[in-house]
Amino acid sequence: VSDSNFSLLVFITFSVRSQDIRNTVGNIPMEWYKDYPHIGYDLEGKKIFKPIRNKDELDEFLDKMENPDYWRTVQDKMTGADIRLSDEQVDLVHRLQQGKFGDVNFNEYEPAIDFFSNEVMIHPVTNRPQDKRSFIPSLIEKEKVGKLVHAIKMGWIKPRRPKETTPQYYDLWAKEDPNSILGRHKMHVPAPKMKLPGHEESYNPPPEYLLSEEERLAWEQQDPEYRKLSFLPQKFACLRAVPAYSRFIHERFERCLDLYLCPRQRKMRVNVNPEDLIPKLPKPKDLQPFPTTQSLVYRGHSSLVRSISVSPSGQWLVSGSDDCTVRFWEVSTARCLKTVEVGGAVKGVAWNPNPSICLVAVSYDDTVVLLNPGLGDRLVCTATDQLISSYEEPEEVMDQSVQWAVAEGEGHEQGHRLILKHPKTVRQVTWHGKGDYLACVMPDNGSSLQVVIHQVSKRRTQNPFRKNKGLVQCVSFHPIRPYFFVATQRYVRVYNLIKQELTKKLMANCKWISSMAIHPGGDNVICGSYDCRLAWFDLDLSTKPYKVLRHHKKALRSVAYHRHYPLFASGSDDGSVIVCHGMVYNDLLQNPLIVPVKVLKGHTITHDLGVLDVTFHPTQPWVFSSGADGTVRLFT
């Protein structure tokens, strides 16, 4: 029996030994009687002697072994006697040990009766009136609150700490260097995928995949590196018969080497927006004025109008057509003032740029006629006639390839003044800026006589070139300097007329030049070609085109510069005229600014031909175009 049960045992001994000697010492520690032979006194006052305890350990052990009631024997501390517990007592001990109530019949879970409930009873348990204390505020509490308020006022305690708004977590990788080892893992390079097995890898491949004897021999003789297949396709009766793959380890090793030696460096591609690469061009709206709408149509020709030219005053327009007529128009009203018939389809017309001479050069077949239209100042017209008639034959007659003749009779009435018979068909006529020299082009491949220059005042003809390379397409005088431009199929050659040498050769980069125009400043040239290109040359810059424009859908027939405004135009077989802004700066460092500003449509396409000639008005930003539909149109 343990010590914890000691008090219990005391209780039990009373009940057990009621009939026995009763110790009267009371509830005292029994150690006090430890050194005495007695243990206390009975009711009669006689000493109760301690029972003789001579049992040693061995006896104790034997007793434990032999006595069946040993486990229920306890020693009474009051008397020192051994007591054997009865069954009921053992039961009680067990119950208590289990934490149960001692009495078997006691119900721990009886229903509770709530005496002090919210319900007002008729007969309350207590009828005591409520304390005064419960009505008046507590002085102690007031003192405590006052202290707190004072502490808050003095700032000793903070009433309420503001809540932390910043999140409590942080970005672990925020400051990570992408080039560090961890960062590099982001640049994951996936392993190259293995090729999927094909039919030839099958254990039972179709017969066409099986190699024939020769193929097999060839395969064996081939170097393993160059073999198309690294194995021989084989046929087995069933899957069970397929042996283990002998090169398995080898192949896995190769694969591992591939993965291990794969270059992990990633090529960084620079992302450039293609829009950013295009240079910023000004808006066409800011480049006014330029022609925008068709204003007038000059009708009258019955066939295609090959060539047009405007008088230097800008009041008259001349047009030459395939219906063998030359017509003179009033620009402002589209009135045909004069029609002159010539003996063939007119290829070119050119108004003399000198305002004090009233002459128009017209070329048809092998003839160039100088016409006096009789328009403009009467004085100028008569002066021109006098200038031509005042010519005196020189002493020695020069042997010239071109026959000069003075028109007489009906031709003179119509305005013909001089007739120049050429040996070949004349395609183009152009005047020098001073109005005395006239250049004619007679295209003939390889011939030495393709370009001639006439001097009208002396009725002299020169052949400036001993031999011509290629087929001459068109020629032009430099507006200021003594240069002469000759355009052949692929090149434009610039000759110095005084030094008589070739100064430049421009490579047009196209197949067949059709037309050419010189900028009034003289340093820029545009060339139109039959392969839909317009090439702008800057003579100071290079012999190659500064810019090539491919806006037209069909062959270009004509190009022109404006004399004052920074404009140039091109006419094409697609029936449209494209006007571009071409600003040339005096500053040598600044390149010309070229902006296409307007597509002008109006001509109908006849016989696959659209616009045949374009030319600008000398003073206004207006462009004239002549077309295969027999009309000349003015765009303003």
Binding site: S313, P355, V380
Partner: protein, 420 residues
């Protein structure tokens, strides 16, 4: 906003109504308002006949509903709106179609006769009924402009030298101006003077208000490069002699002069292809001011009634200018509706707000400056380019063009508006 308080008033005594504000629906348009006025007039006097009215809100014609017009013009709807009503300008009625042999380059008409210049090198005189009265032939090239100098009535009373004769001028491409004397009774024409001096075709002539001086202009300058163009003026004196030379030359234009006119007896105005309108002092020959545009001017017209210049240019707009503004860059209004170059403009001789314009798009338009968004009427009779227009004071609008036809239209001279 469904109702608007409006007060109607008019200058015309014939159509006066009581001066009280009316509440009218805001969505009402011109026809509704016209109905309202007619109802009021009928209630007032029994013999009233229905009249179509046009309405002006703060000097602008009402063309849409009243509400949208007020919103556009930013007029408060809270206050009483002052609405002026005038008799509606009825559409000009086509009257005659006078056929010519060739293009008509110019027309000038007075109350009795119509004078036209044609590309067949002649000028013609027509009666108002379209009957050919006289053909003036003598130029060797196209006649570009014509002008009456004196009418016979004036001469009958005033001059003893020329009895019962009219004087007229023709300018031609052959660089001359011819002064003709036409006796309407005997129907004979006689060339009196030939004026030379231009170095190019003479495109326009103008006779000054006192009818003694003539201003003529060439289109082309022929001298050295950079030499300005030369408008020239010529005085007609009583001395006899066939050829005359200019009295004064006005130099300054860089390009062809397209139109010239007299503003009053001392002031000249010329428009040119060099994008300027210049005002000249006729006495000294000095340039007074310059109005600079952005396009070539084809034609100008001046109205002494409203003291404005109207110009037709190669960009489809008719522009109004104030010639008194010194800087010259002030464009008062632009009237935009044409589709081609405006070749001719002419103010109404009797109405301060009306003008006609002819264009290369074959349409003559009648404008009122109080409604600048759209013309009053389009007169689409021509089949080809229109080259000239004119008004007469007795109710005719004339237009001639490249279809060889001279059309006349009769318009009702609005009594209420005349000289308003």
């Amino acid at each position: 906003m469904s109702q608007v308080q409006a007060r109607f008033f008019t200058e015309n005594k014939k159509y006066l109504i009581d001066d009280v504000p009316f509440s009218i629906p805001a969505a009402s348009e011109v026809a509704d308002l016209s109905g309202v006025i007619n109802k009021l007039l009928e209630a007032k006097n029994d013999g009233h006949k229905h009249v179509e009215f046009d309405f002006l809100v703060r000097g602008q014609f009402l063309r849409t509903s009243l509400a949208s017009h007020m919103e556009k013009e930013n007029i408060s709807t809270e206050e009483v709106v002052e609405i002026e009503y005038v008799e509606k300008f009825t559409a000009p009625q086509p009257e005659e179609c006078i056929m010519h042999d060739d293009w008509i380059s110019s027309v000038e008409a007075d109350s009795e006769w119509i004078l036209t210049g044609s590309y067949d090198k002649t000028a013609r005189i027509w009666s108002m009924e379209g009957k050919a009265v006289m053909t003036v032939a003598g130029h060797t090239d196209v006649v570009k402009d014509v002008a009456w100098v004196k009418r016979s009535e004036n001469l009958q009373t005033g001059s003893l030298v020329v009895n019962d004769a009219s004087l007229l001028l023709t300018a031609s491409l052959d660089q001359t101006i011819m002064l003709w004397e036409w006796n309407s009774e005997r129907n004979k024409v006689e060339a009196r003077h030939c004026c030379r001096g231009h170095a190019g075709s003479v495109d326009t002539v103008a006779v000054d208000p006192t009818r003694t001086k003539v201003c003529v202009l060439p289109t082309v300058e022929e001298d050295e490069i950079e030499e300005p163009n030369r408008p020239r003026k010529k005085q007609k004196t009583e001395q006899m002699g066939l050829t005359r030379t200019p009295l004064m030359t006005f130099s300054g234009h860089n390009e062809a002069v397209s139109s010239v006119l007299w503003m009053d007896a001392e002031e000249l105005c010329s428009a040119s292809w060099d994008h300027t309108i210049r005002l000249w002092d006729a006495e000294t020959g000095e340039q007074k001011s310059t109005l600079t545009g952005s396009k070539v001017f084809n034609s100008i017209s001046y109205s002494p009634l409203c003291r404005r210049l109207a110009s037709g240019s190669t960009d489809r707009h008719v522009r109004l200018w104030d010639p008194r503004s010194k800087d010259g860059s002030l464009v008062l209004l632009s009237l935009t509706s044409h589709n081609g170059w405006v070749t001719a403009v002419r103010w109404s001789p009797s109405h301060e707000h009306q003008l006609v314009s002819g264009s290369l798009d074959n349409v003559v338009k009648l404008w009122d400056t109080r409604s600048c968004k759209a013309p009053l009427y389009d007169l689409a009779a021509h089949e080809d380019k229109i080259l000239c227009v004119d008004w007469t004071e007795n109710g005719l609008i004339l237009s001639g063009g490249a279809d060889n036809k001279l059309y006349t239209y009769r318009y009702s001279t609005c009594v209420s508006d005349a000289g308003a």
